[in-house]
């Protein structure tokens, strides 16, 4: 797929130009990066544009409920060892944003593309990817009716017959179900901390038995496949059994898992794990996530958690008590307007931390924490919350729009 294909048709070129113009206008009008609106204009002029832009690239698609933006970044860094990369690094992950990102990479060799879960099958049809990385699937924004199991089914039918190599997490039963209709799968034992969406067998509905880290259905035999790549503590084991150390600036087990999957993707392109992993160290923050900022004489670490699985992974990476924690939750359109997911998060894990609560839906959080038996304070603004906490390191965990609010306040 690396051989150069025919140049863009006049129509496609016009579409790219029109898209760039629209993006420039949108930027000038102060409406963000303009990448989405640019892509939308371009796609309207030439609906096949995405396919044509991807035609000369080795494409990797990355999808998951959590970690897709970070993993896209890690894979992009790794593949730069082999040539120029174009990527939708800012997380514009629907077709318009993807088109816009690819339009800026005419001399790239690789396209590393984060794709929203709901669009994965369609984008995979359009761009004929060489690799598709599937990390995890769990409940997210439920009032938008994207039911997790249906999503797994959608992936499964959409990927059936795909020529791509699927790099998939063998520890997530829904991902295994989605990937196992494909001919070429590389299984990565990347772990799964959140198990509540996968107690019933995706194949037959039987109860999954989950001994240790495996899973098996007593009724139909659906079971965890044997991995060829394994995340083992701070190392990734490659298919030859060699252990490579993972050194990341990004914190937490989940990011080690993302690195392991990224190393497996890089290996498909002939990039050795040690080379890939070394390059991943350069990633310090992803669209503001994991950034540490100084604010009101405190060191504030900004952590994004959008759904129960994300919150659980985040609790496992924060500094231990007595490090204070600020929690912020909104329920605007991009967050999902239903806050009931808060009750799927085990907040008792925060016992011992001083807790301050902010955000549009701070009262939902307050009741949640009261029922969890925790001590906490509630504040109208970030400034007040920080002022109530001692100097030093503070962990701040927020969901999507709440995170953007915080970035604006701290000037990040």
């Amino acid at each position: 797929m690396t051989e150069s294909t025919e140049p863009l048709s006049p129509r496609a070129r016009l579409a790219v130009t029109a898209g760039k113009a629209a993006a420039a206008v949108s930027r000038a009008a102060g409406r963000g990066s303009g990448s989405v609106i640019g892509g939308r204009v371009a796609l309207k002029l030439d609906p096949d544009l995405l396919a044509r832009l991807a035609g000369h690239l080795d494409v990797v698609l990355v999808s998951a409920t959590n970690g897709k933006t970070t993993t896209t970044r890690l894979i992009a860094e790794a593949l730069r060892a082999g040539g120029p990369v174009v990527s939708n690094a800012l997380g514009a992950n629907m077709p318009a944003g993807i088109t816009s990102a690819l339009a800026g990479g005419s001399d790239a060799r690789y396209g590393v593309i984060e794709v929203d879960e709901k669009y994965l099958a369609g984008v995979a049809r359009d761009v004929e990817p060489k690799v598709i990385a599937l990390l995890n699937l769990s409940r997210d924004q439920l009032d938008r009716a994207a039911e997790t199991r249906m999503l797994a089914e959608h992936w499964r039918t959409g990927l059936e017959g795909s020529k791509a190599t699927i790099v998939a997490n063998c520890d997530d039963p829904l991902v295994v179900w989605a990937a196992s209709s494909s001919a070429h799968v590389v299984w990565v034992a990347a772990g799964q901390e959140w198990k509540d969406d996968a107690w019933s067998c995706p194949a037959c509905g039987g109860v999954l038995q989950r001994p240790d880290d495996g899973f098996v259905c007593g009724e139909c035999g659906f079971a965890r496949p044997q991995p060829t790549w394994v995340l083992s503590g701070d190392h990734v084991l490659d298919p030859h059994g060699s252990a490579w150390p993972i050194h990341l600036q990004l914190p937490g087990r989940a990011n080690k898992a993302n690195a392991a999957s990224s190393a497996a993707v890089a290996a498909v392109f002939g990039i050795a794990p040690q080379v890939a992993l070394e390059r991943m160290y350069s990633v310090a923050a992803v669209a503001g996530r994991y950034d540490v900022v100084t604010y009101q004489n405190r060191e504030l670490r900004l952590l994004l958690a959008k759904n129960p699985a994300g919150w659980l992974e985040t609790f496992s990476l924060i500094d231990p008590p007595p490090t204070p924690v600020v929690l912020s939750v909104n329920a605007r359109g991009a967050d999902g307007t239903d806050t009931s997911w808060l009750w799927d998060v085990d907040y008792t894990r925060l016992a011992g931390h001083p807790i301050a609560v902010i955000g549009d839906r701070r009262l939902d959080l307050a009741v949640r924490l009261e029922v969890a038996g925790l001590e906490f304070t509630v504040h109208d603004t970030l400034q007040q919350a920080i002022g109530a906490l001692p100097p030093g390191r503070i962990e701040l965990i927020a969901n999507y729009t709440a995170f953007q609010d915080v970035r604006r306040v701290v000037g990040n």
């Binding site: 009716a145 239903d338 009750w343 009262l363 949640r368």
Partner: protein, 242 residues
Amino acid sequence: MSDTSLRVVWIYPDLLSTYGDQGNVLVVERRARRRGLKVDRIDVRSDQPIPTSGDIYLIGGGEDRPQRLAAERLRRDGGLQRSVNNGAIVFSVCAGYQILGHEFVNDLGNPEPGLGLLDVVSVRGEAERCVGDVLADVDPALGLPELTGFENHQGVTHIGPGARPLATVRLGKGNGIGDGNEGAWNDTVFGTYLHGPVLARNPLVADHLLKLALDVNALPPVDDRWYDALRAERIASAAQPA
């Protein structure tokens, strides 16, 4: 209630716990403990028998296929029906509410028998999914303040003569018939379409379940500051045009 502790049974968390409804279990447990009661919480997976010794049974919402599987397994098990015949309290939400009725429409589009513990029959609505905040006035016979919650379903539920509407919506769709009814109840069995979770938004409903289980008319007061603040905010926000 056994001699020593209140037994709260959570039915099938592996199948029916999609929309934060385990919060209902947590709220019942917490409010009982705050009254100094000992609580025995029993989570029953769908490959385990339903214990018949429970005082309060809670059952939540879920996706379409797990709902069918849950109905099949509950019918086969029979424990919940026996418990209700012995006077147990049941509080159910959404998919769980439909399962307690005589019949609902399953993921294959076919009528699926329920447990017949509530005199209701559910079909699938033709209109678009009901999603959003709900505000509803509770059946005056229950003496409870207005309900606030969040609905997300496509069900339409008809109430027979053996049950009464739990509430009348001021905002939202509820049972989806168009008559404003939301949920259903008889003496000891309650069903609602409301998530939120509904008992966190309406702690006095949780207390009502506790009173029924304990067979008392009143409970010692607890600190409801945060519940009250949340209720006031959600009710005010629902009353405001979007």
